[in-house]
Point group: C2
Chain length 370, copies 2
C-alpha cells in the first residue's frame, strides 16, 4: 500500500477526532532517508553488495518507510574518509574497515584486525559477547559521535602476491611491498619497505616491478583485479588479517532520531549482513582459488622462520604501543586476555578437527596405496 | 504508543472518509501471537536463551505487534517431537536440531551435522550461499510443510566424557557410549554399543558404570551437568559434530499468513540469532574449559588410528546410504562436493594461520629458553 497516501487520507478524515494522535503515528513509522557511504568500490562485490543487502532488509522490514541508499567508494566521499564523513554527519552512516583509520590511532585496528589477532569467529565472540563492541565504542567511537556495529568479515586473508619467492627473513630486507597501517609497521621492523598505493594502481606497479609484492584480500577479490597475471607467488596466511571485520558506522544524532523499532531493525540487519558476508566469502573463495591455480598461480606458505620473526616484531610493536598510547593500552589489555583464552580453546575441538578432517581424504588414499 | 487504541480512534474519526483503507492498515501491522517450542531445556542456556533473544528482537522490531513466546523442551511438546508439532501446526514454530530426526531419514543430519562434515563457518556458507538451505527445504522440509531457517551453531563439539582412556580401535569394542543417530551408526561399525539415554540420566549412568562414555556438547554446557564428577577423561574432537546447526522451523501456513514485512523481520532475527549463539558459545567455552581442567578433568585427543577408523566407517556409511536412500543421495552429492572444496580452501589461509598463531606464544617461550 502507499503509506504516505493513507496517512494523508486518515489525517483528513480524522480531523474531527480529538483522540487522533497524528504525531504518534508519525513517530511510529516515520519516513526516513539515509545515505550510506561505503569504503568499498563496486568491484569488491561481496562487501559492497553486502551493504546493499542490509539496506534492502531494512527497507523490507519497514514496509519501505526506512530507505538507505548505498554509495560506493568515492561516490560521496573518498574511501578512507568514511569515518570522518559519518562523524560530521555528511552522511548518516558508512560501511568501512576500521584499520583504514590507524593513522588516527593504531587502536582502530582492534575494531577490524590486528596482527596475530582474532579469527572471524573469535572477533564476533569478542564483539557480541566479550565486551569488545562496548569497549571500542567507549574508547574510540564516542569521540567521533559514532555508533559502531559489526557488519561483515572476510575471514582469514591471504598474505599477498609476490614476484619472487621469500624463503627467509633475509629475503624480506628491502622488499617493496604494498601494505600499510599496523602490518606495515610490523614488517618495517624486518626491513620491508611498505608502500602506500591505491588499489587501482597495484597491477601496473607489480607489472613494472616498482613494487615486489602486494597484499590484497583473498582469492575471490584478488582474481577480479588480475594480479595473478603480474605476480606468480600467492602467499598465505595473511597473519595481520586473520578475521578482519568491516563495520557499520552510524552518526549518533541520526541514530538517536530513529524510533526504538527502527534501531532494532538496523541492529538485526547489520548482524545478518555480518554473517552473510562471511558466508559469501567462504562460498566464493574455494572455486576462485581453484581457478587461480589453474591459471598458473603458485601457492606458498610463509615458513616458520618468517612467521616467528613477524610474531616477535608484532609483540615488540604491541609493547611499544602499550607504553605510549593510552587508547591502545585500554583496549589491548582486554583484547589480549580474550585472544589468549580463545587460542587455547580453539586448539582443542576446532583445530584438532580441522587438522584431521581437512586432510583425511588424502590420508585415506595414502593408506590404500600402501 | 498503544497501537490498537489508535486504530480504533482513527477508525471512528475517519468513518466519514471513503478513502480510509482500514483493512490495509490492519494488514500492515497485524497483531500476531506465536508459540515457539524449543527442543532445548532452559539449562542449555545459550540455545534456549538464543531463541528468546530472537523473539525479543521480533517484538522490538514490530513495536510489540508480533509476539513470539518460547517454551522449553517438554513444556508444550517433547524435545524430539518439535518437528512434528510444527508440521501439524500444534505450534507455529520451533527451535530444534535436525539430527534429532534422523530416525525419519538420515538426511536430516545435513541440516545440522554429519560425521566429518562442515564446520560452523562452512555450514553457514553452504546454507546461505551454497544452495544448502533451498536443497534441504525441497528434499526434506517441504514434505513437512515447514520453512527452515538456520538459527544457531555450537561450533565444533567435544568428543565426550570417558571413564577410561581409549588408545586404540580395540578399546572401542564393547564400549557402551551414550551417542545416537548418525554418529552412533558409525561407531557401531567399530564395535561401540550406542545407548539412547535422556540427558538427565547420563550422570547416574556414568556414575554407576552402566555406560562407559557419553557425548554431550562442549565445556560450557557440559560443566553445568557436572559430568566431570563421574568421568575423568574429556575427549576431542567430536568429529560427528564439527559445526552443528540448530534450526528455526516455521509452519508454512503460519508463515504465509505473515506480511512480507514480518517475514523479513523473522529472517533477519533468525540470522542474527545464528551468529550470536555461536558468538556466545565461543565466548563461554574457554573459561569453562579452564574451570573443568582445574577441577581435575583430563583432556585427551582421539589419536590418529581412531580418527582414521572412524573416517573410514563414515565413508562406508555414506556409500550405503547413497545406494539405498534417495533423499540422502539428493543432498549428499551436492553437500559432498561443497565440503571437499571447503576443506581444500580452509587449509590454506585459515588453518595455516590457526596452526601457527594458536601455539606461537609457546614457541616464543621455547626459543627464549634455548
Amino acid at each position: 500500500m502507499n503509506r504516505r497516501k493513507f496517512l494523508t487520507s486518515a489525517g483528513l478524515g480524522a480531523a474531527a477526532s480529538t483522540t487522533l494522535a497524528a504525531p504518534a503515528i508519525a513517530q511510529s513509522r516515520p519516513q526516513i532517508r539515509w545515505r550510506m557511504a561505503s569504503s568499498f568500490p563496486h568491484s569488491l562485490k561481496i562487501l559492497y553488495q553486502g551493504a546493499e543487502q542490509m539496506a534492502r532488509r531494512v527497507s523490507e522490514a519497514t514496509d519501505g518507510n526506512f530507505d538507505i541508499r548505498v554509495f560506493g567508494a568515492g561516490e560521496l566521499v573518498p574511501a578512507f574518509e568514511v569515518l570522518d564523513a559519518v562523524s560530521n554527519d555528511t552522511v548518516e552512516c558508512g560501511h568501512s574497515a576500521s584499520y583504514y583509520y590507524v593513522g588516527k590511532n593504531l587502536a582502530f585496528g582492534f575494531d577490524c584486525a590486528a596482527p596475530f589477532g582474532l579469527t572471524a569467529r573469535q572477533q564476533n565472540a569478542w564483539m557480541y559477547e566479550g565486551g569488545g563492541l562496548e569497549l571500542v565504542r567507549e574508547v574510540l567511537f564516542d569521540d567521533y559521535n559514532i555508533i559502531n556495529l559489526p557488519m561483515g568479515n572476510t575471514g582469514a586473508q591471504m598474505g599477498g602476491w609476490f614476484r619472487h619467492e621469500v624463503d627467509s627473513v633475509e629475503d624480506l630486507k628491502g622488499l617493496k611491498m604494498r601494505i600499510s597501517g599496523f602490518a606495515g609497521a610490523v614488517l618495517e621492523k624486518l626491513g620491508v619497505v611498505p608502500q602506500q598505493i591505491p588499489g587501482g594502481d597495484i597491477y601496473p606497479a607489480l607489472e613494472r616491478g616498482t613494487i615486489d609484492a602486494s597484499e590484497l584480500v583473498g582469492p575471490y577479490d584478488d582474481e577480479s583485479v588480475g594480479l595473478y597475471e603480474v605476480a606468480e607467488y600467492y602467499y598465505y596466511p595473511g597473519w595481520w588479517e586473520a578475521g578482519p571485520q568491516t563495520t557499520l558506522y552510524i552518526n549518533r544524532d541520526a541514530w538517536n532520531e530513529l524510533t526504538p523499532e527502527y534501531q532494532s531493525i538496523v541492529q538485526a540487519a547489520a548482524a545478518e549482513a555480518n554473517i552473510r558476508i562471511t558466508a559469501r566469502y567462504d562460498a566464493e573463495n574455494p572455486p576462485a582459488l581453484r581457478r587461480l591455480v589453474s591459471k598458473g598461480t603458485k601457492l606458498r606458505g610463509f615458513n616458520r622462520e618468517i612467521l616467528m620473526a613477524c610474531y616477535k616484531a608484532t609483540e615488540e610493536l604491541y609493547e611499544e604501543q602499550v607504553e605510549t598510547n593510552d587508547k591502545f593500552r585500554a583496549i589491548y589489555e582486554e583484547w589480549r586476555k580474550f585472544r589468549d583464552e580463545q587460542y587455547l580453546w580453539f586448539r582443542v575441538a576446532e583445530n584438532s578437527f580441522d587438522n584431521f578432517a581437512f586432510t583425511a581424504d588424502a590420508r585415506l588414499e595414502q593408506q590404500e596405496d600402501n
